[in-house]
């Protein structure tokens, strides 16, 4: 089920209530059961896939642990042992990545092979089955794999309790859209019994409310305009395209970060502490900085399990850039099985490679011009340039194809028409003036909150120190605003209520 559904609204309080009422021994089992129920809200059959992946990684953990002991014993005897732990980790990786490949990339590969076949005058291949992408597969497979690799590396001890491990993989708040947790952080939290703490719960609920605000007030509202402009881009030019591009940057951030915040918040209500996933990415001063702030759980996953094993930056500059490109192309592919995602990833990698290559020249230039790099204005300029670069890449992310993205840029520069911002053109995008006002005000709130956070203020802690009436007022108004201005529910056109229709 989705967080923004009436099901979740009933599901979550029930889960929380039962969780704290049940004896401590049963709580993990309860979480496991409800997590599977949560997942089966999409497609019950794919719960088997989740179970399978969980089983394989659990088993590989056990085998690695067992084999390592044996190897160590042999090595102590001075014998050369077959590297079984490595074997098991490779098998686990292969099985899990095959699952991911089959369910996520099979269609993509077939499509590309067919393009090749058709272009070379041969008949295209038609698969005998259709693959439906299981929800969240990229998330939980990565999470499960991180456990296998951590066990192999010895960063985490082997988990012997299958149910506890299964709960770690399927933990419902972060199951389908992250953060991708590490066994080192989350797994151990199932050991410590959680006691209900009101201030923790309140903070969790506050974060959830903020997440809902980002998701259903901003992201889903911005999506209406973004979809209109991107889907029917042939009819929009210049500033209209620009509006679409800017709003997509807002949409993708609020959508993703909002969902993460709901996840982190709901885990917090249950007493769990999940990692931060978005750290105000649009305040980044460089593309590299952006990637330290954007989808942190994924970036660090790639860093720890791909970039560093590839050699990271320890094998020379060229190799470092090569590794960077590999990581970002893979990241692109992880986000979606289509070439435009690969290009998006590649572009982000390229920015950083270029950033690295040009760094000495940039340094020389700033020195020569006596630019004061510690000023607000300089930081602002860097932030703006970074945002522009990121937003250009987003067009590839959102467009339906590479050529679509190119045509978006052509339309962007086809006309200089700032008057469309004033002459009512923006009201022809399925969006009324009221909607625009709500959206712009909401984005202002987002900006203000982000700026305060960026200045080092911990908002929820600061709020807790305020007078009670203020805390209440802010919370109540916030929740009401989300309820009223959120995009959710069956959304009837008021014309639908006219009774003259039979």
């Amino acid at each position: 089920m989705l967080f923004n559904s009436v099901e979740f609204l009933l599901f979550f309080p029930t889960v929380v209530l039962a969780y704290f009422i049940l004896p401590k021994a049963f709580r993990t089992y309860w979480l496991l059961i409800v997590s599977y129920i949560f997942y089966m809200g999409w497609n019950p059959q794919y719960a088997l896939l989740l179970l399978f992946s969980t089983g394989i990684t659990f088993l590989s953990g056990l085998l690695i642990g067992h084999a390592r002991k044996k190897c160590r014993a042999k090595e102590e005897q001075g014998k050369k042992a077959f590297p079984w732990p490595r074997f098991y980790v490779v098998v686990s990786l292969l099985i899990n990545l095959s699952l991911l490949f089959f369910f996520k990339y099979f269609d993509f590969v077939v499509e590309n092979i067919n393009t090749f076949l058709v272009n070379t005058g041969r008949a295209p291949y038609t698969p005998a089955f259709d693959v439906l992408l299981p929800v969240g597969i990229s998330f939980y497979i990565f999470q499960a794999l991180s456990y296998t690799i951590d066990v192999y590396r010895g960063d985490v001890r082997v988990e012997k309790n299958f149910f506890k491990y299964a709960t770690f993989v399927s933990f419902f708040p972060q199951l389908v859209a992250g953060p991708i947790e590490r066994s080192t952080n989350l797994l151990s939290q199932f050991d410590t019994p959680h006691v209900f703490q009101l201030n923790q719960a309140v903070k969790g609920l506050q974060l959830m409310a903020w997440g809902f605000f980002q998701k259903i007030v901003i992201a889903d509202r911005a999506a209406i305009v973004v979809n209109q402009i991107f889907n029917y881009s042939a009819y929009y030019k210049g500033f209209e395209i620009l509006v679409g591009m800017l709003l997509f940057a807002v949409q993708i951030y609020c959508d993703f970060a909002g969902y993460s915040n709901i996840a982190i918040g709901s885990a917090q209500v249950l007493g769990f502490d999940l990692m931060e996933n978005f750290h105000r990415p649009y305040f980044a001063k460089s593309v590299a900085d952006f990637w330290r702030r954007w989808h942190i759980s994924l970036s660090t996953w790639f860093r720890d399990y791909l970039y560093i094993p590839l050699g990271g930056n320890r094998k020379g500059t060229a190799r470092k850039y090569f590794n960077l490109m590999i990581v970002f192309l893979a990241s692109g592919l992880w986000h979606g099985a289509a070439w435009n995602y690969v290009i998006w990833g590649g572009l982000n990698g390229l920015y950083q490679v270029l950033g690295g290559v040009l760094k000495p020249y940039k340094q020389r230039l700033t020195d020569k011009l006596h630019v004061r790099v510690n000023t607000f204005s300089h930081r602002l300029l860097c932030g703006i340039i970074t945002f522009i670069l990121i937003d250009i890449a987003w067009v590839f992310f959102r467009a339906s194809s590479f050529s679509h993205a190119i045509s978006m840029f052509q339309n962007l520069f086809a006309e200089f028409n700032p008057w469309v911002l004033m002459d009512g053109s923006l009201l022809n995008m399925g969006f009324t003036a009221t909607e625009w006002t709500v959206l712009l005000l909401a984005i202002c709130v987002l900006l203000m909150v982000s700026a305060l956070q960026e200045s080092g203020l911990r908002l929820r802690n600061a709020l807790a120190k305020q007078e009670l009436w203020f805390q209440w007022a802010l919370c109540i108004i916030g929740v009401l605003l989300v309820l009223i201005f959120g995009i959710y529910g069956p959304n009837f056109d008021s014309a639908a209520f006219i009774y003259f229709q039979f």
Binding site: L133, S233, L480, I484, D493
Partner: protein
């Protein structure tokens, strides 16, 4: 403890503010929500008759009229599209606060088989009810899924987006907006819909109710029984289908078995005086003619069958002393819309007004008359008794010489005056039995006593009549430029002097009149080859010539036709009214191999022998009412006199027109030449008239079909569309495959997605996808249609439409949804995206539709491939 108090306190404040926001945002409709809200506010023992049901109850029965006429304290607790399960909960809710003496329910929706109403209607029906276990049960009965029911009960998800449209009223709706007055039916549309009701009384068969309907019908009956309140079930008159009527028969039987009263107005609407032609404004709702009739009948029934006190005299009743006011009008009771130009043969105007019905009546008549008429003793207007036994009296204006008018008023008293100009303004004011007369604003006499007996006849322009409703005579060639009649109004001299009406449009003279002889009215440009779809020609030709718009038209038709062996009812040409019992005009057709049939004037039938394959030259002359016909130079009909009433239709070649103006009987006949001339000629000349054959029409060549839309299409309502340039129907038996993917996120309107469709009345054909206001789609294929029902969930729709000759296959989202045969005539229009084209080639119905992909190509895609092609391909974009 302190913490707990804090949480409780917080929740209380939150709920308080939430409920305020909720009440402002709540949907507010004049059905369902408003009747229920006001009902809750009524004091105890106010309602004697509780009326529940759909709009058929709420829009057809007026509580105000029940109150005014019968003193019945009735309340209409209705909601649009209310099925019986919602009626059940409305009754249950209604009985919580009032103790009515009878409950009346309209159960027309028991006649349909839908298990659920559309979401918006269901929502009103559920949200009107106050929060209670009954509301929960009502929601469960009204929605398919528990999620929808939960959202409806919570409310906020369904109406929070109303923040866009909040008005002052929304914030006071549940406080100051409440009304406890007698209910009235507001904003009844003034139009008149001619309902075509079946003979429901003769339908006695039964069809079962749906299980759900029957369950709730019985629950409702038991509920009223358990409360000891009599129940009356009704079905207000509407345009029901036979199946609906049969299901309602079952409901009636159940009611009778249970001892419940039932009045089925489908079968008894005549008893209530309802006229299907004048009393409806749409297929299910009465207009201001019908509402009083039905309400009066139901009121009388209620009075007769239940003990209902007259509450008008009950000073303790909340509605005591509530009454009505009637507005007055100040416009003419009658005004001529076009100038009247008499032809001396059939032309006249019946105003429908009876100025002398009441001898003491008062009125003002204003007329502007043209003095240049063609003869003497011609009538301008009349309301004049010519009965032998009663004598001559009344009102009569005639011409009695050059610029001389003779006006008769009262008991045949004549006033004669001479008009100075070519037009004259005449004003007659009747005040009880005295008259004022003004000519060109100058008073001729004032207050002259001219008493006479009442006369029932109508005021006529351009003729007289022998007796009321009797034969008209003395059709005149007078010309009346303006004519206004004001009932119950007495104009002063100033008002009359100030009268300067706008000039009315002229009425042209009949064809071929007054020396307008032998003008060419129409000549066929190319031969008509009926059914010859290989030719570049429509399946009929509308000449645009009205031969019978005036009874007195005089014309000559010269036509060369080619009789064939293709069976009966083949029309060569027609200008013929198919109005039942009033057939008239001209019709030339072949009913047998060796015989051409002519229908002339008032359906006068004559036959002319013919030889198939051998052309025949027909000359048809009409001299007002006298017809002469020559076949190949031989006079076959000699001066038959058959006068007929005017008919507005055009001369059509190759088809006929029915009474509703729809073309029909498209015929495979051949007309090689045809000419219409005004007036008639002498006998010898007529016999020698000839006509050259028109050239043959061009042959059709099918174009290739190949189009792929490069970018997704986004329509607007102003004028955007795409013309693909592709002709899908330029030859009839083309084979093509069309693939289209729609984004149907807001289709609550009548939009055209794509069209290659002839809008010619009676010849609708081609390809068209339209959305309807109820969210469904209609796909026109050739001459057939496929309805694709509403589906709230659906947003992306991928159609594959395959045409192979006359065979169509349609696939939608991976499923085959229709296969059908549909042969149609060629159509030369191109395939348009986002609009349609009128018969005249003008683009219209520009639609704000979203089409994500669109392609069409030659050749019919095989079934399996087509089905596969219609599957929606979601891009794997989720992480």
């Amino acid at each position: 403890m302190k913490k707990l108090l804090g949480v409780v306190g917080f929740l209380c404040v939150f709920l308080l503010l939430y409920s305020y926001a909720n009440s402002a945002l709540h949907i507010k409709t004049e059905d369902g929500i408003e009747p229920m809200r006001n009902y809750y506010a009524l004091p105890e023992n106010t309602v004697d008759v509780l009326m529940v049901g759909s709009s058929h109850m709420g829009r057809n029965i007026s509580p105000k009229l029940l109150w005014q006429n019968e003193g019945i304290a009735g309340y209409n607790l209705w909601s649009g599209m209310q099925p019986i399960w919602n009626s059940y909960y409305f009754v249950k809710e209604g009985l919580k606060t009032q103790k009515p003496k009878v409950v009346v329910i309209d159960i027309f929706l028991c006649g349909v088989t839908a298990e659920y109403s559309d979401s918006a209607a269901a929502l009103k029906n559920v949200q009107a009810v106050n929060a209670s276990l009954d509301q929960v049960n009502a929601a469960r009965a009204s929605f398919r899924t528990w999620q929808e029911a939960a959202e409806a009960l919570w409310g906020m998800p369904t109406y929070h987006n109303r923040y866009n449209e909040l008005t002052e009223n929304d914030f006071y709706y549940y406080t100051d907006g409440i009304s406890t007055d007698v209910q009235d039916i507001l904003s009844v549309p003034s139009n008149n819909f001619q309902a075509s009701l079946l003979d429901y009384a003769s339908i006695t068969d039964e069809l079962p109710l749906t299980e759900k309907s029957e369950t709730y019908l019985r629950k409702t009956i038991n509920l009223c029984k358990s409360q000891g309140i009599p129940l009356l079930l009704i079905v207000a008159p509407y345009q029901a289908t036979a199946e609906e009527c049969m299901r309602l028969n079952t409901a009636e039987r159940i009611a009778r078995e249970e001892g419940v009263d039932f009045v089925n107005y489908l079968k008894e609407y005549q008893a209530a005086g309802i006229d299907p032609l004048s009393d409806f404004y749409d297929i299910g709702h009465l207009n201001n003619n019908g509402i009083p009739k039905l309400t009066a009948h139901l009121g009388a029934y209620l009075k007769a069958h239940y003990e209902l006190p007259d509450r008008r005299r009950d000073a303790a009743h909340i509605w005591y002393n509530q009454n009505v006011t009637v507005a007055t009008q100040n416009t003419p009771s009658y005004a001529l819309e076009r100038q009247f130009q008499g032809d001396g043969i059939t032309r006249s105007v019946d105003t429908g007004i009876r100025p002398l019905e009441n001898r003491y009546g008062s009125w003002t008549l204003l007329a502007r008359l043209d003095m240049k008429t063609y003869g003497d003793n011609e009538v301008y207007f009349s309301c004049f008794s010519e009965q032998a036994d009663a004598g001559n009296y009344g009102l009569l204006a005639r011409k009695s010489g050059d610029h001389v008018i003779d006006l008769k008023l009262g008991a045949n008293i004549s006033t004669t005056f001479i008009a100075e100009n070519d037009t004259v303004d005449l004003a007659i004011v009747k005040n009880s039995q005295t008259y004022d007369l003004y000519v060109d604003g100058i008073c001729i006499f004032l207050g002259r006593e001219l008493p006479c007996n009442p006369y029932e006849g109508n005021l006529l322009i351009g003729c007289q009549e022998l007796s009321p409703d009797g034969e008209k005579f003395r059709y005149s060639r007078t010309r009346t430029l303006n004519f206004e009649f004001y009932e119950d109004q007495i104009f002063s001299a100033e008002q009359i002097a100030a009268w300067s009406p706008d000039e009315l449009p002229e009425t042209p003279l009949p064809l071929g009149f007054f020396g307008d002889e032998q003008q060419e009215i129409y000549t066929l440009r190319e031969q008509f080859v009926g059914g010859g779809w290989e030719y570049l020609q429509e399946s009929f030709i509308d000449t645009g010539v009205q031969l019978y718009d005036e009874s007195a038209n005089r014309f000559t038709i010269i036509a060369r036709i080619l009789p064939n062996t293709l069976g009966s009812d083949n029309v060569y040409f027609s200008c013929f009214s198919e109005e039942p019992d009033h057939y008239r005009g001209l019709l030339v057709r072949q009913t047998q191999e060796n015989r051409i049939d002519l229908l002339l004037g008032s359906n006068y039938s004559v036959q002319v022998p013919c030889v198939p394959g051998q052309s025949m030259l027909l000359v048809i002359e009409k001299d007002v009412s006298v017809y002469t016909v020559y076949a190949d130079g031989v006079k076959v009909i000699d001066g038959i006199d058959t006068l007929c009433d005017p008919y507005e239709g055009n001369l059509l070649i190759g088809c006929q027109e029915d009474a509703d103006g729809e073309k029909f009987r498209f015929s495979q006949t051949c007309v090689m030449g045809l000419q219409v001339l005004s007036g008639v000629v002498e006998d010898e000349q007529a016999a020698q008239l000839t006509l050259e054959d028109a050239p043959m029409p061009e042959k059709r060549v099918g174009s290739t079909v190949q189009y792929e839309m490069s970018d997704p299409y986004l329509g607007d309502t102003v004028g955007r569309y795409l013309d693909t340039g592709v002709k899908l129907y330029d030859v009839s038996d083309k084979a093509w495959t069309l693939i289209v993917e729609l984004n149907a996120d807001s289709i609550n309107r009548s939009d055209a997605y794509f069209s290659c469709f002839s809008e010619r009345v009676g010849q609708y054909r081609g390809l068209l996808l339209r959305s309807n206001t109820d969210n469904s789609f209609t796909l026109f294929l050739g001459v057939e249609t496929v309805t694709i029902p509403a589906d709230q969930e659906r947003q992306k729709m991928r159609f594959v439409i395959v045409k192979d000759g006359a065979h169509y296959r349609v696939y939608l989202n991976g499923k085959a949804i229709a296969t059908l045969e549909s042969e149609c005539a060629p159509y030369d229009g191109t395939l348009l995206i986002g609009c349609q084209e009128t018969a005249e080639g003008e683009k219209f119905r520009f639609s704000p539709v979203k089409i994500d992909a669109f392609s069409v190509q030659d050749g019919a895609l095989e079934p399996e491939k087509a089905q596969k092609e219609s599957e929606i391909r979601e891009q794997n974009q989720r992480f």
